[in-house]
């Protein structure tokens, strides 16, 4: 259904894209046919019922946004919704009590059923939650999860128990939970561009730097322990290294150059990729130790070379180069040789980000549009097949993959301000995470221990 809708949008805003590219998802969110899950509305006893609107919305959202399931529409669900295992009764003459087959057969055709109820117990909101595989012959075999979850007796608590339950359900399917992961980004809400962090759902937004200058381009190490960024604190672009464990700045030696900018960590988190004018001329790509030492030049051209990103599963770089005119994405070996262009040469292609699978990249491209009108694309760097994920929703830039390889965080200018959004790798499930000031250049880091 989503694909049909997307194709319709493509026809409206980008006919070129439709003709050139097959409309299939490069990244199948769950790697094949997604199981169908039925999540009927849960009810609460007594005072708990007042929290159920928040609970039901959140649980449905968590499971839908994970991209792991096909969500069974609530309209086709049976009238009798079980609230606890004892509500199930094997079919018998005249019985209208629920049974597993009510959920597994048409029109529901679910593989799984999440059900339960809530109650206020000793001042806490208690969720009694079950997950059943409704294709099993009996209740004993059907039960996958049967657990009590506790939260505060308010809407925040209701959302919290929904998150806990959803996280357990996702874990049953081997899906990576994003709980504990952090998004680092740039916000100007204080009047200056500073580095901020937030949880993956947009909550818990915190200011990290307070340099009152222009501080931007955050990159987080794959191990989640370090943050590098670029600041004009000393009146020119310089790299700063920051420990996310101690919350302190680490020493970093900047080359004596008109600009030094951090771009990425190597997959082992032991080196930094940067672009700099340290070689005297135009910006080139370098690699250094985490303290800026042992600088190694990788590109040797007379054109602008920026944004090197190393393949997490190999040693090739994807980067942005102006060697062919307007900026395009290129790939090269770690010695800087054998560069080849990945994008078609149309428009401007920038902001590459590797999927943890080492096969796909996400990037921003103006292909088919005026300069500045970027959309988010994904590409299989082996086949160079690409797919446009955002369509007709303003200017979209700086995509960055979540550690689960399924979600993408990016910035989008849909009104007068830039804000940070997340979506699934097929372009569905777009959510806005920020609202205050302008927010841009998000990077998604794994949970810090």
């Amino acid at each position: 259904m989503n694909k049909t809708l997307l194709s319709g949008l493509v026809v409206l805003v980008g006919p070129v894209a439709l003709l050139a590219q097959p409309q299939r998802n490069l990244i199948e969110i769950s790697g094949g046919e997604r199981p169908a899950i039925a999540v009927p509305d849960f009810r609460g006893s007594g005072d708990a019922q007042a929290r159920m609107a928040a609970f039901n919305a959140r649980l449905f959202e968590d499971l839908q946004d994970s991209g792991q399931f096909r969500m069974v529409p609530k309209t086709v669900m049976p009238l009798h919704v079980p609230q606890q295992p004892s509500d199930f009764h094997p079919p018998s003459a005249g019985s209208t009590a629920p049974w597993l087959t009510d959920w597994s057969s048409s029109p529901v055709s679910a593989n799984y059923l999440a059900f339960g109820y809530t109650a206020i117990q000793q001042g806490q909101l208690a969720l009694f939650g079950w997950l059943y595989d409704v294709r099993q012959p009996d209740l004993h075999n059907a039960q996958l999860i049967g657990k009590v979850y506790l939260g505060s007796p308010d809407d925040a608590g209701a959302r919290s128990v929904a998150d806990q339950f959803a996280s357990d359900i996702l874990a049953r399917f081997g899906a990576h939970s994003l709980a504990g992961t952090k998004i680092y980004f740039v916000s100007d809400r204080t009047g200056h561009k500073e580095i901020w962090s937030m949880d993956y759902d947009g909550s818990n937004q915190k200011q990290i730097t307070d340099y009152r200058s222009i501080t931007t381009f955050p990159v987080v190490s794959p191990d989640g322990t370090k943050l590098a960024f670029t600041s004009f604190l000393h009146n020119k672009a310089e790299i700063f290294m920051f420990s996310l464990q101690s919350g302190r700045r680490l020493p970093f030696f900047n080359q004596n150059a008109s600009m030094n900018a951090a771009s990425d960590f190597t997959p082992d988190s032991q080196h930094l990729l940067l672009y700099s004018t340290a070689s005297g001329g135009v910006s080139q790509i370098f690699e250094s130790d985490l303290d800026g030492g042992n600088l190694r030049r990788i590109t040797g051209t007379n054109s602008i070379e920026v944004e090197p990103k190393m393949n997490p599963k190999g040693s090739t770089y994807v980067f942005v180069s102006g060697r062919g005119g307007q900026p395009q994405l290129y790939m090269m070996n770690s010695n800087g040789l054998d560069a080849s262009r990945l994008t078609t040469g149309e428009g401007e292609a920038v902001n590459p980000s590797w999927n943890p699978d080492g096969i796909h990249i996400a990037f921003a491209w103006t292909r088919g549009f005026e300069p500045g009108n970027y959309n988010i694309f994904v590409m299989d760097v082996g086949t160079r097949e690409f797919q446009q994920l955002t369509h007709g929703v303003g200017r979209n830039e700086n995509p960055n993959w979540a550690p689960d390889g399924v979600h993408i965080v990016y910035s989008s200018r849909r009104g007068r301000t830039n804000q940070i959004w997340t979506m699934l790798a097929d372009g569905t499930g777009q959510h806005q995470l920020t609202t205050q000031g302008n927010n841009e250049k998000p990077v998604w880091g794994k949970a810090v221990q």
Binding site: F217, Y275, I304, V306, E307, V320, G372, K441
Partner: protein, 262 residues
């Protein structure tokens, strides 16, 4: 304390006087009876001399200063137990000196109190205001010249080539900079490259740098000393306007020259 000592001394005096009287009386016993002496006066010591009034020597050196200079008060006081100088100086020892910085003509009064009474002496320090220094000769600073006469240069989208209009501007800038650099060895100039908002921030950082270097290279070709010209890039982080119009984009695709120290 000194008061108690003087009382003691006075009593000793009375004892001595009484003893002298007794000695005189016994010596008379060996002679012919004589008429009884005149009755001794009441056995009372004579009053000691009154304590001296404090004496003060108080002077200022010099007695006339210019505003901002200091003068020194000297004093020497005797026969006093409490000494103080007004105008904020406060209690002082019986002899000493103190540097003072009056901003206006000021009279200092030293007051000394002792058993003999209170004395005071005054000195006046005349403070004159120096004439204002002659006004500096009016000169335009190098920074002012650079800010007013060195113009921004503009670029095409995604380009760092020096356009014809920029050649004219840079040629004028070169003349100004050569003149300023030859007369002021302390000043330097930074070429700041900027871009419009359409390209990516990352690419624009490098593009702005390239524009700044292109402008610098052009100036150096015209004879401006390269070691006095720095380059930096703000990419698209320091826009002069934020409208999504070609007019505003053009304003932001520029190199600005700012003056600074070497």
């Amino acid at each position: 304390m000194s008061h108690r000592i003087s009382l003691y001394v006075r009593n000793v005096g009375a004892v001595v006087a009484a003893a002298a009287l007794l000695t005189f009386t016994s010596a008379c016993k060996k002679k012919a009876p004589a008429p009884p002496p005149a009755p001794a006066p009441a056995a009372e010591a004579p009053a000691p001399p009154p304590p001296e009034k404090p004496s003060i020597s108080f002077s200022a050196e010099p007695t006339s200063i210019q505003k901002g200079q200091s003068a020194t008060l000297h004093w020497d006081v005797s026969h006093a137990t409490d000494m103080s100088i007004d105008q904020g100086v406060g209690a002082v020892q019986s002899s000493g000196q103190r540097q003072v910085y009056p901003t206006d003509t000021t009279t200092y009064t030293l007051t000394a109190k002792g058993p003999g009474g209170t004395s005071s002496e005054s000195v006046t320090i005349n403070v004159t205001t120096p004439p204002p220094p002659p006004p500096p000769a009016p000169t335009e600073s190098s920074v002012d010249i650079i800010n007013s006469q060195v113009k921004d240069v503009y670029f095409d989208y995604d380009k760092s080539d020096i356009r014809d209009d920029a050649r004219t501007v840079l040629t004028g800038n070169a003349d100004v900079l050569k003149k300023v650099f030859s007369t002021d060895s302390q000043i330097s100039v930074t070429a700041e490259g900027n871009c419009d908002e359409r390209g990516s921030a990352e690419y624009n950082l490098a593009l702005g740098d390239r524009r700044a270097k292109a402008a610098k290279d052009f100036l150096v070709q015209l004879g401006v000393p390269g070691d006095r010209l720095k380059t930096i890039s703000y990419g698209k982080e320091k826009p002069v306007c934020t409208d999504a119009t070609e007019d505003c984009y053009q304003k932001n695709r520029h190199v600005h020259f700012s003056a600074g120290g070497q």
